[in-house]
Symmetry: C2
Subunit: 355 residues, 2 copies
């Protein structure tokens, strides 16, 4: 039995209910900018070893909460756990991004894929969720997450990172039925994965569509958003996940917020290239918004950080439904003291804004 929640600002904001101040968490808050993270990672030996050991994943998940008054924890894991569990052979070469030994290129490759067993290949993720919930002891809610079907497919088809993921794009144009079979099995896998995280104790769920913004408007709708909407519908149909708010975040897709708001999600992540005031108008009160400070602001100085944080809060205004975050993940060069400045300013100014 998990402890009752002591800080529900984040969940209330996602439900667009009033809060005493604006909740904040930071994408990639458990990460390389923290010396204690680097120490745990060194002990683990590799990124994959860190992600796959529940007690280490729990340790790094909690590290930023020890330092900063953050309003949510997010499961420490990789976005490519699903394709790894599908048998594609994930590895991280030193100084390079992710690589798959067996990329998905042909109809036969797609036909071989199956929804992974969440209690077998992905049990280590659920063990981490259970452990983190226990260790959090109700301090703040825990966010579970997955890569979006489109973003997983990008890496699976390309076999590695890419500027344009042209191999998957070519599949979408040349053989859309094949691309759809791939995205459908990924949507079913992502849904099963997030439902399992919900069953294990996650209290909110987020889908990271890192590469949706590489698509033109029509392909974004057909190959990215459609499958995120399929995931959301599946989550709404399952007793474990039905009541959990779902956040969708497509980087570089600010022009698609209105359509995304109709997906059934509770909130949308917004990157830093648009004003939250415009984003609010686009979603017309249908969803909460999460964002959107330029991550580079954290590499400036405390005065700038405070001023730019206030500008983000002012842009959203005194309305319910704002979760403060960066517009993309925090980078390794950031001074942890700057994160403290940010968190404290958001809470102080968020309170003043409501006064």
């Amino acid at each position: 039995m998990n402890a009752p929640l002591k800080n529900d600002r984040f969940l209330r904001a996602l439900r667009r209910e009033p809060t005493d101040t604006t909740p904040i968490w930071v994408m990639r808050q458990a990460g390389r900018y923290l010396p204690e993270y680097r120490a745990t990672r060194a002990r683990a030996g590799s990124f994959m070893a860190l992600a796959q050991a529940p007690e280490l994943a729990c340790e790094v998940t909690l590290q930023p909460l020890e330092r900063f008054a953050l309003d949510a924890a997010i499961l420490f894991s990789d976005i490519l756990t699903i394709p790894d569990a599908m048998g594609l052979g994930l590895s991280f070469a030193q100084g390079e991004g992710p690589q798959f030994a067996r990329p998905v290129r042909s109809a036969a490759d797609v036909a071989r894929l199956a929804v992974p067993d969440m209690d077998a290949e992905l049990r280590y993720v659920m063990d981490a969720v259970r452990l983190i919930r226990r260790e959090l002891d109700g301090r703040v809610p825990l966010i579970g997450f997955s890569g979006s079907p489109w973003t997983l497919a990008c890496y699976m088809v390309e076999g590695q990172g890419s500027r344009d993921f042209a191999t998957l794009k070519a599949m979408c144009w040349n053989d859309p039925a094949l691309a759809r079979r791939l995205l459908d099995i990924l949507a079913r896998s992502v849904a099963a994965y997030l439902i399992a995280q919900a069953a294990a104790g996650a209290q909110a769920l987020m889908v990271f569509d890192t590469w949706g913004g590489l698509l033109g408007p029509a392909p974004f709708r057909e190959f990215s958003l459609r499958y995120m909407a399929q995931v959301v519908a599946a989550l709404k149909a399952d007793a474990h996940s039905r009541d959990l708010p779902v956040i969708l975040f497509s980087k570089g897709a600010g022009m698609h917020l209105a359509e995304m708001a109709d997906s059934g999600c509770a909130a949308l992540g917004v990157d830093w290239t648009m004003d939250l005031a415009d984003a609010r108008r686009a979603v017309a009160g249908k969803v909460a918004l999460q964002g959107n400070l330029d991550p580079a602001v954290l590499r400036s100085n405390p005065d700038t950080i405070r001023r730019e944080a206030r500008a983000v809060l002012d842009s959203y205004g005194n309305h319910p439904g704002h979760v403060f975050n960066l517009g993309h993940g925090i980078t390794p060069e950031v001074d942890p003291a700057h994160v403290e400045v940010l968190v404290d300013e958001v809470h102080a100014y968020g309170r003043a804004l409501r006064g």
Copy 2:
């Protein structure tokens, strides 16, 4: 005395005058996807040697025109010629991007910068323009170009390529007056550079703001668009450049088209992440549009290329003022035969669209 122009479709489209079909050229059309380019580059020894030898720059500028029925030529050069001429020491490490030996970080660094002498340090560019105009013999117009002040500053301050150019962003936030002095001298340099290209024979001018889209809306206006508008105003005030159409292209800045259209430019480049129909509505007939096929389409197959090219043409519709292009530069993996398919389809369907 240069030969009279035989194909003025491109210039007419930029002036939003009727044309028999839609003109097309391709960003980075003189580039690595062409075996003859790779041969000339190998002969030159390095990219800088190629860019700095007028006869070689002329040779590669003309290569794509020998193969394809393109409606414009673009000067082959690098976007970082200005900072190189300012004495920052540009080099290209093998397999890496550009690097500056002496990046610009302090007030003293900025104070040392001066507008380069177009007849001295940058004479090789003007020689190339004169030679290309002569060799073109009026076949199609020649586009001169420069990097935008913001984009030049990105590399000058960072000293190399970057994901986020956070060093310049931090300068803009922490010491905006210093950033403005840097951008002002760059705007004056870019204007002088483009005026000199016009005097040497360029018939249209383009400003590439490759990294403007990394900025949030307010900094985009203050630090990118403002200095492009300063460049356009300077071009309008000089007899050599006054009558030349100016194209501005900020990648990833689709949300700013309406403001950009008020800069005094003749046309805006549009990347592939928005529909041209929406872009047309945003600019409300003030400027022509150039774009916007996803460059990855050229890595699919001929049927897809034709279909997607028609979709772009249909999205713009039967209105004057469209120059077909990719939404970003062509990539080295593209089969040159696919470019021929594209050019021919644009001309055929552009004609049918007007029928």
